[in-house]
């Protein structure tokens, strides 16, 4: 009875459907607009790498929690960390100065990149970037999970050299510089040889606008912090710009869907790229899940924070809502 009513109700309201010809025009306008936007927005940046490519793919393995049933995949959450260990043999503790949670929604149509500022206090006198130095990825991952309540499906750690290698392996990435940045690390003398700006070299400058970044430029740009308007927060944004640009490059060169090429990119970084996935997933199987995601589907944001004594941040009120939305996959 109710079922027949339903069929009749649906049939009775078919006349509400808008006219296809009109909607078609709007769609065409939308497509044209998107083209322009994509051309203009070819984004900018450079430094912590591979990751998005790897990470999004990664997105499917539950790491700290029991795996989801294949019939009902959940969202994917992968923690991406850029750290400052130099050289594979160095045992010196590395700090995780860039911490990004990559969230891919259940439908695999949208992704979010969410930065945790390195100066976020996670306990009195204890900042989040120290967690990695003290206890490695395992400790940082459990700290992030404790903070957010979001179970992680995998982690990706990449060092300076790994970022550079990955960027070179994909043929550079295109980022849009949002503020003029003069490098404090890389400069040249009059004959064009490397000379640190600290010793009087003329610094390399990244002017506002969109451009291609080679590996060394991407790394240098992403390392810059002290001269930026908002310091580490701006640097976090540059990293997210980079991840999106890298992902876009992997898509536009069809690398994401080509297991051999994807493997080459990851291999280029060698031990400077550490990927840890749960659930028996490979980079390749995970990459396949991202087929519906493109750069416009990736939102870039930072965890909302407030200043905190003595010299860092604490979570702002909106962070609670953000984490709840993440847990419910309703962001």
């Amino acid at each position: 009875m109710t079922e027949d009513d339903l069929r009749a109700t649906f049939a009775r309201h078919e006349h509400l459907a808008p006219d296809a010809a009109k909607v078609r025009q709007e769609i065409q306008a939308g497509i044209a607009q998107r083209r322009t936007r994509r051309r203009a927005a070819w984004s900018a940046g450079a430094a912590f790498a591979v990751v998005l490519a790897t990470l999004v793919p990664l997105a499917s393995a539950r790491m700290l929690v029991a795996g989801p049933s294949p019939a009902q995949p959940g969202p994917l959450n992968v923690l991406i960390v850029g750290h400052d260990r130099r050289g594979a043999d160095s045992n010196a503790p590395a700090r995780a100065d860039a911490i990004v949670l990559a969230h891919v929604d259940r439908t695999r149509q949208k992704a979010h990149l969410i930065s945790f500022p390195r100066d976020l206090y996670v306990a009195p006198g204890q900042k989040i970037n120290g967690e990695y130095a003290v206890g490695g990825m395992a400790r940082l991952a459990s700290t992030v999970t404790a903070l957010t309540g979001v179970p992680l499906d995998g982690t990706v750690a990449v060092s300076f050299s790994g970022l550079q290698a990955i960027t070179n392996a994909v043929g550079g990435v295109r980022m849009c510089v949002d503020q003029r940045v003069a490098s404090v690390h890389v400069g040249m003398d009059r004959s064009g040889r490397f000379l640190s700006p600290a010793r009087g070299g003329r610094p390399v400058v990244y002017e506002v606008g969109c451009r291609n970044f080679a590996g060394w430029e991407a790394l240098d740009y992403l390392r810059q912090r002290v001269t930026l308007t908002n310091g580490a927060l701006d640097r976090d944004k540059h990293l997210r710009d980079y991840l999106i640009a890298l992902f876009d490059k992997l898509v536009s060169t069809d690398t994401l869907r080509n297991p051999a090429r994807l493997g080459q990119v990851a291999a280029a970084a060698g031990s400077a790229l550490e990927i840890n996935l749960a659930g028996g997933h490979s980079l390749v199987s995970l990459a396949a899940e991202l087929r519906d995601v493109d750069r416009d589907d990736i939102a870039s944001l930072a965890v909302p924070v407030e200043m905190d004594e003595p010299s860092g941040f604490r979570l702002g009120p909106a962070a609670v809502e953000l984490f709840a939305a993440l847990r419910a996959d309703r962001i």
């Binding site: 459907a17 808008p18 009109k22 909607v23 009902q72 949208k110 519906d292 962001i331």
Partner: protein
Amino acid sequence: MTYEEFAAERLQSLLRFAVMLAGDPHTAADLVQETMIRVHAKWRYVAASQAPERYVRRMLTNAYIDMRRGSWLRRVVLRGQPVEPPAVPDHADASADRDQMWAWLGRLPRRQRAALVLRYYEGLSDNEIADVLGCAVGTVRAAISRALATLRVEVRPAWSGGPDDRG
């Protein structure tokens, strides 16, 4: 099939489907527009799938289910709007509406409404519905039976109030 051929042939049918989901022409047009722009961008993948139309309907259905919650960021962070309170069903409104059934469809959870549309408007089997919604068949059946139960309780003939109907 090219994107243009697909759009020319299937757009009207997609719009009807979207109206059943969304309940009003404006939201339906927005949903279809948004989805088709994505379809255009991904046409290679869509065309390569076994059933392009099914693929597009899946995108559309997901876009509908994710409609508001997908814009959490925009509403809460960028525009500073408060989180919307859930719509509270109201018998007085429902009986004032000429078409109670249609009004109550609008108050069902989106997933339940989508399941009803797929079964009773599109005529899909439970297996096919599960595929579109990306969930288990049991979940589809549970959603439909919950939705039907709600409608049976809430949608009443105009002159016969239930025992608890004091309004």
